[in-house]
Symmetry: C2
Subunit: 277 residues, 2 copies
Amino acid sequence: MSAETMTRGQIVPIGGAEKKTRDPAILARFAQLCGGDGARLAVIPTASSLEDTGARYERLFTDIGCRVRVLPFLDRADCERAELIDPLHRADGVFFTGGNQLKLTTILGGTSVADLLRERNKSGLHVAGTSAGASFCSEHMIAHGKEGATPREGMVQLVPGLGLSPHTIIDQHFRQRDRLGRLLAALAYNPRPVGIGLDEDTAAFLGPDDVLTVRGTGAITVVDAGGMTHSTMDTARHGEPVSMLGVRLHVLSDGDTFNLVTREACLAEDSSEEPSP
Amino acid sequence: MSAETMTRGQIVPIGGAEKKTRDPAILARFAQLCGGDGARLAVIPTASSLEDTGARYERLFTDIGCRVRVLPFLDRADCERAELIDPLHRADGVFFTGGNQLKLTTILGGTSVADLLRERNKSGLHVAGTSAGASFCSEHMIAHGKEGATPREGMVQLVPGLGLSPHTIIDQHFRQRDRLGRLLAALAYNPRPVGIGLDEDTAAFLGPDDVLTVRGTGAITVVDAGGMTHSTMDTARHGEPVSMLGVRLHVLSDGDTFNLVTREACLAEDSSEEPSP
């Protein structure tokens, strides 16, 4: 692993609806990661269509002790404006709010802001995002899809995301919105990435060693289709169920870890590795 | 640019229907690139549902002077079989035939074969593919889509490809099948990659410096949406036309070049750069 890789900042996708009052554990942990008291956080509310989303997170992170700048990138021209970009050079962490992840890709995609965030994350900037902001972190982003536990052809739309995490496809509100099917469908096309299904109020803290640690009150469903023996996605017609044989699945809760390189899961308490299959 | 990057093998997507008899210029140029007489080529016919596709390319490349091995990866288990993988360690070039690109992603995706090809391409293995094989080369692969020149929401399905070329989205049979709309739609989601629309009997020879050179009897349509000022893909409903303002387009023919990093096009004859806008 190169030195550059080992200095990468953490990538912290959150499944949405994280606790914001009385022990906002995930947000506090992210603030701590960024340096704790006095950490410089940039909040990017681009995904949201609500006017006060940025201000709300500004208050939350300020209460925790951070120095917060809200950067309202409202259109692509904003993403080339120096006064909005400059704070990103000095930030310790960046936080993407929820909303519509396609607002993030259509407004930030291919701009100086996106280039800078990818580059700075490689050298230590921590990046978190909740809900739409979580989806945006990966290279292959779920733009939208249908509910249900059964994978079907055409039930999920993948598009290029910010590209911080090339090895994952991230989904959010996972259990709450019954999204196993669309995550399976995404992997039935090509099982190279690992599927990460984040429940609400649950986050993956993904370190520079590509090991993620679960934090929060829900679970993370890890779908590893690398050992899949068959997928019928190549011949399925629109809306048809897709057969997938030999998919490996882990349900991980607070403190458990998953190594994206070796594809091994570990329990929190005893750090014992999963038994070999 | 790192030393590793500069030793990358060439990536050669071909738009399909390349000339196979009497002056098969593109195939001969690829063979030459791999070392000419005696070059060791591996042909991967996985995309094709026709039984003789591998044998056909074996004859073609043998006639040109290559030593050819056809590697029939028919299912995912084949992609872990040493006797089928071993020749890839010694090959100078790999050629993916046409067919259905989803057969390539569902069978090869996430296997030892795909990992090895990505790794060996970084250190010098040349990789070509025609039609479905061309689409497969990129990180974000067009799996299928609708015809027409107007981009519409939902008209194109993107999935993870082999991932040799992270900076492009490749389409083929481009002019012949009226695919400008689906390539534009792909970029309307996120204009970070460059769109490469390959006509039939036309190839992009993409060097380790990320400069591509056009070869063949048709054209390559390069769609650069990096400077796009607006995309309505975030709010478009299924099937609706999508507005895209400020897309830059180049039509390039034999000998012309395009630099994926600087996004500059050059004419073949005088090597003059395009005038500034």
